[in-house]
């Protein structure tokens, strides 16, 4: 009986079949149980051996059942889990997450670099006095330099600032050297709108006034910025340029990030891209703000922001930034 039972248990196809077999053999009326009950009717000398044999059988069957039960259970979980299978390639369900605007993110990145370089970021007004935008920055009255910055006027003496540099005099009036500040924001110029021009653009402007500030400090600062912004291979090129509020004045170019300085279409073969206007703060500007230009010197620089993400992401049309097509914004 033992062999047949063990074989049947080993072949049981399901937990239910196994349960039935367990009852058949070991249940209250099971074959093994019935055998055990027979003991009483056996002669006393046979009882011990018989009892021993039946108990062994019982144990053997119990072991077989529990072994089979485990095997079956494992199989049945597999079946159950198999039924729960999902198509992992179906799309996830979630709400649309938000992203930063690429230009604001660039502004933040630039701001962080200057904070690391020890600048204090200050807020600055966009609706500005003519005086702060031009006169205080040493723009002579009736000078063609003003033509390069055609302004939108609100009243006779209020205009939309044409450069973030307009905050310079305000800062100098309210502080004492050493001054090391930076501002960022919108600027406006009368300019026809196309892929590379707009009436509104963003600038960053930094300046330092202290004892012993040199043009080499200016160059080193912009070099540091270029490396942080464009990577360790970036370099800067300084060449003379004119802005009324600085003297000596410079135009600053960085290594073309497209070709790495070898020369390409974007940099017109020069290997350099114009980045910033810069220079040593003109003594007239310092003196106009009550700072002794003999005792103190300073440098200032400013640049447009739009160009940077345009180069970094290969964006060919400036207008995309403010058009806010979500298909564009969600890519960056």
């Amino acid at each position: 009986m033992g062999e047949t039972a063990t074989a049947r248990i080993g072949e049981a196809k399901s937990t239910a079949e196994l349960d039935a077999l367990e009852t058949e053999y070991l249940g209250r009326k099971g074959e093994v149980t019935l055998q055990l009950r027979k003991i009483g009717s056996l002669p006393p000398e046979e009882r011990k051996d018989f009892g021993q044999a039946v108990n062994d059988l019982k144990e053997q069957l119990n072991a077989a059942i529990s072994e089979r039960r485990e095997t079956l259970a494992a199989g049945e979980i597999d079946v159950k889990l198999a039924k729960e299978a999902v198509d992992v390639t179906l799309p996830g369900r979630f709400y649309q997450v938000g992203r930063p605007h690429v230009l604001v993110e660039t502004l933040t990145k630039i701001k962080d670099i200057f904070i690391r370089l020890g600048y204090e970021i200050v807020e600055s007004p966009e609706v500005e006095c003519y005086r702060y935008n031009f006169e205080a920055l040493n723009y002579p009255e009736e000078h063609p330099a003003i033509d390069e910055q055609m302004s939108f006027y609100i009243t006779d003496d209020r205009l939309l600032r044409t450069h973030t540099t307009a905050y310079q005099h305000r800062q100098m009036e309210n502080r004492k050297p050493p001054i090391k500040v930076c501002t960022l924001g919108k600027c406006y110029r009368v300019d026809a709108v196309d892929a590379t021009h707009g009436h509104t653009f963003h600038q960053v402007d930094c300046f330092v006034v202290d004892h012993g500030i040199t043009m080499a400090d200016l160059k080193g600062t912009l070099y540091q910025f270029a490396v942080e912004m464009f990577g360790p291979n970036a370099n800067v090129r300084f060449r003379p340029d004119f802005f009324p509020f600085v003297e000596p004045g410079a135009e600053v170019a960085v290594t073309c990030s497209i070709c790495g300085g070898k020369g390409c279409n974007v940099c017109k073969g020069s290997g350099w891209l114009e980045l910033a206007g810069a220079g040593m703060i003109h003594p007239n500007v310092l003196e106009g703000a009550g700072i002794d230009s003999e005792e103190y010197t300073g440098f200032a620089f400013g640049f447009g922001i739009e160009r940077i993400p345009m180069l970094q992401y290969g964006i060919d049309d400036l207008r995309l930034f403010m058009e806010n097509d979500l298909r564009f914004l969600r890519q960056l």
């Binding site: 649309q96 997450v97 605007h101 807020e123 609100i154 330092v208 500030i213 060449r239 979500l326």
Partner: protein, 681 residues
């Protein structure tokens, strides 16, 4: 300005390649923007900065290049021996307004033959972008390009009274300029007049009735030095920018006046067969002589961050014809009259810097050491940005200069700042709120096929003040429409469909994340918002913004497909409402018990009152009240709602028993019945 390098060769010998020459000029500050090959010549397109009027000629460029290529300028020296009558006997010149004209030179050339210019001259003019006209006019233009001195040739026979008077225009005067347009003159404009009428707008353009024609025989050639600011003002006022006005605005060398006149006379003799009268008339009420600028070499090094020897500095300066010697350890520079940009020490510092080469300057960092930091607004702005993005908001950046109709749409026309000289009608004002611009973004994206959107912006809005002043301040606003799901297959789209409450959820999440408590939403009205789905947002007693569904009117005007919801908060008010320091509350030590009740109240009763009654009557045991469902239907009768509310009961110092909670719940129900007329289902 276009510079023929072939022409340049007339005044400068150089061995380097044109590419090298272009690089040297660029690095010295005279940027060669483009190099163009034309037949037999190479043209540099150079960008002349507004301070360097002296670069606006071939000679000027040659002078700049000379020390860069180790050469010297070969200045043209006209050789003219006059004959016949003296110029002074043929023409009488006087300057009535010497403040506007420092020098006026007149030369007489008689019996010229008007014809075409020779090919070489036409080529050079064309290369410079000028149109050849006839030999006389071409010569005036040629000499202007060569030496930078604008010239004008009058037909002598058409000048009345053989007189030239340089004076301000008289009231009511006008002139027909060479381009055949009648120009009304204003009394502060300088004119060249004969005894009867103006014959030229000084430094801008000649008059047509004294113009050179094929009949012209005798010429009065004008070479003058007019005051920059006056020419600029006149040119702007009349809307006329000419080669002449462009140069005068940037300053013309007062020492070149007579040389240029003689150079033109020489060419008229050679190319038009003219007889140059003896002498010239040179009226010079304000002679200009070279001036002295003293410079401390130590100062130069201190500004540039260099360690240059005074002798080296002097060499750079002398290379550019700024005669410099060293005396008492100082650089003593005699500044030539064409360098009107050099008036003080700092200008000399720049010249030395240019001579040394900016590319040779070292890279150092300023000694100013301070801890960098963001502005308080900047720091807070970053926080708000991050929170709104985590609420699914896509950041956008919109224009501040907008159509004033948007202020009307927002019902805030009285606040609007108008732009006086807008580029176009739809850019005639500064925005008074962010919402209208955000709605336009929704509209535009709808047109591009993107209807589902949740956008926000932190930016400035601008306003006029009652006292006539104007201001600007930061604002935080959002707009959303459609569904906020990115993908929700098999799930209800409605679960994240934009409505008042979803929008409110974003605002609440923002305020909650900032740690702002005691926030209330109170019905309000706003021209932008739906009349019965609008709320103002109060923190304590301070109103910090508003939110709601966009008004049906605005909705229709913008043709939005989905109902949009918006919010706009005052950035500074939000910042002020945000606690500087957050304190932690110890986590509860005892378990909570939960109860739900269905409260039936009439529709006039606000949820806020129901929740308030529950909290107040909960004997301090109710930790949290939350709304699970709002049901309206026949079962509970018209005009009523059933609010399913869950409550969390907890005591800070013991484990609550069911009986305790039930007894409190009874009291809560009793209070709800008494205070808001609630019944229970």
């Amino acid at each position: 300005m276009k510079v023929s390098t072939k022409w340049l060769k007339d005044y400068l010998d150089y061995d380097c390649s044109l590419g090298e020459l272009a690089r040297k000029l660029t690095m010295a500050g005279l940027e060669v923007e483009e190099i163009k090959e034309i037949e037999g010549d190479t043209i540099f397109d150079v960008k002349v900065t507004p301070n360097r009027g002296d670069w606006l000629s071939i000679v000027g460029v040659a002078r700049e290049a000379a020390p860069l290529v180790g050469s010297r300028l070969k200045m043209p020296s006209p050789q003219v021996d006059g004959s016949g009558p003296a110029a002074a006997d043929l023409i009488d010149i006087s300057i009535d307004d010497p403040d506007l004209c420092g020098r006026y030179v007149g030369v007489m050339i008689r019996n010229v033959e008007i014809k075409e210019s020779p090919e070489w001259m036409k080529e050079r003019l064309t290369a410079a972008g000028m149109r050849p006209i006839n030999n006389i006019v071409d010569i005036t233009n040629y000499v202007m390009l060569e030496l930078g001195q604008p010239l004008h040739a009058f037909d002598y026979s058409l000048l009345r009274g053989s007189r030239i008077i340089v004076r301000r225009a008289k009231p009511g005067e006008s002139i027909v300029s060479l381009d055949d347009v009648e120009r009304k003159l204003e009394p502060d404009m300088l004119v060249i007049a004969d005894i009867e009428r103006p014959v030229a707008i000084a430094g801008v353009m000649g008059g047509s009735d004294s113009e050179i024609s094929s009949q012209t025989k005798d010429i009065l050639l004008e070479s003058a030095n007019f005051t920059s600011t006056s020419i600029r003002r006149t040119s702007k006022r009349l809307g006329m920018v000419t080669e002449s006005s462009y140069r005068f605005e940037r300053g013309v060398d007062p020492s070149i006046t007579a040389i240029a006149a003689m150079r033109a006379a020489e060419l008229m003799r050679d190319l038009a067969g003219g007889e140059v009268a003896r002498g010239l008339v040179d009226v010079r009420p304000r002679p200009v002589e070279p001036w002295i600028v003293e410079t401390r070499p130590a100062r130069v090094n201190a500004v540039l961050g260099t360690d240059l020897d005074a002798g080296v500095m002097a060499d750079y300066l002398n290379g550019w014809e700024i005669e410099t010697s060293i005396s008492d350890g100082k650089l003593i520079s005699k500044v030539p009259t064409f360098r009107q940009d050099i008036t003080r020490e700092i200008d000399i510092v720049e010249e030395v810097g240019r001579g040394y080469g900016y590319e040779n300057l070292a890279c150092t960092l300023p000694r100013t050491q301070q801890q960098g930091k963001d502005s308080p607004e900047g720091l807070f702005r970053e926080r708000v940005r991050r929170i709104l993005m985590s609420c699914g908001g896509q950041e956008v950046l919109t224009h501040s200069m907008v159509d004033s109709k948007l202020a009307e749409l927002a019902g805030r026309s009285e606040l609007v700042l108008n732009v006086r000289n807008p580029l176009s009608e739809d850019l005639d004002s500064m925005r008074v709120a962010l919402i209208p611009g955000l709605l336009l973004v929704l509209q535009r994206n709808q047109a591009y096929g993107t209807v589902n959107a949740n956008i926000f912006e932190i930016g400035k809005i601008y306003f006029s003040k009652a006292d006539g002043g104007m201001g600007e301040k930061l604002s935080v606003a959002g707009a959303m429409a459609g569904s906020l799901w990115k993908s929700n297959w098999s799930l209800s789209a409605d679960a994240l469909k934009v409505d008042f409450f979803l929008c409110k959820g974003v605002v609440e999440s923002l305020l909650d994340s900032l740690g702002i408590s005691s926030v209330r939403f109170v019905e309000t009205s706003d021209p932008l918002l739906h009349p019965t789905r609008a709320a103002k947002i109060l923190v304590g007693e301070t109103e910090i913004g508003f939110m709601g569904e966009v008004s049906p009117d605005v909705h229709e005007k913008l043709d939005l497909r989905e109902r949009a919801c918006v919010y706009e908060l005052d950035f500074c008010a939000l910042m002020k409402s945000t606690p500087d320091v957050l304190r932690y509350n110890p986590l509860p030590r005892y378990p909570a018990l939960y109860r739900h009740i269905a409260v039936v109240v009439s529709d006039e009763v606000k949820y806020e009152s129901v929740a308030g009654v529950i909290k107040r009557s909960g004997e301090g045991m109710i930790e949290d009240v939350d709304l699970l469902d709002v049901y309206r239907g026949e079962q509970i009768g018209a005009g009523k709602s059933s609010l399913t509310i869950s409550m969390v009961f907890r005591s800070p110092d013991k484990t609550l028993k069911d009986e305790e909670v039930n007894s409190v719940l009874d009291k809560v129900k009793e209070a709800l019945g008494a205070e808001v007329g609630a019944s229970f289902r």
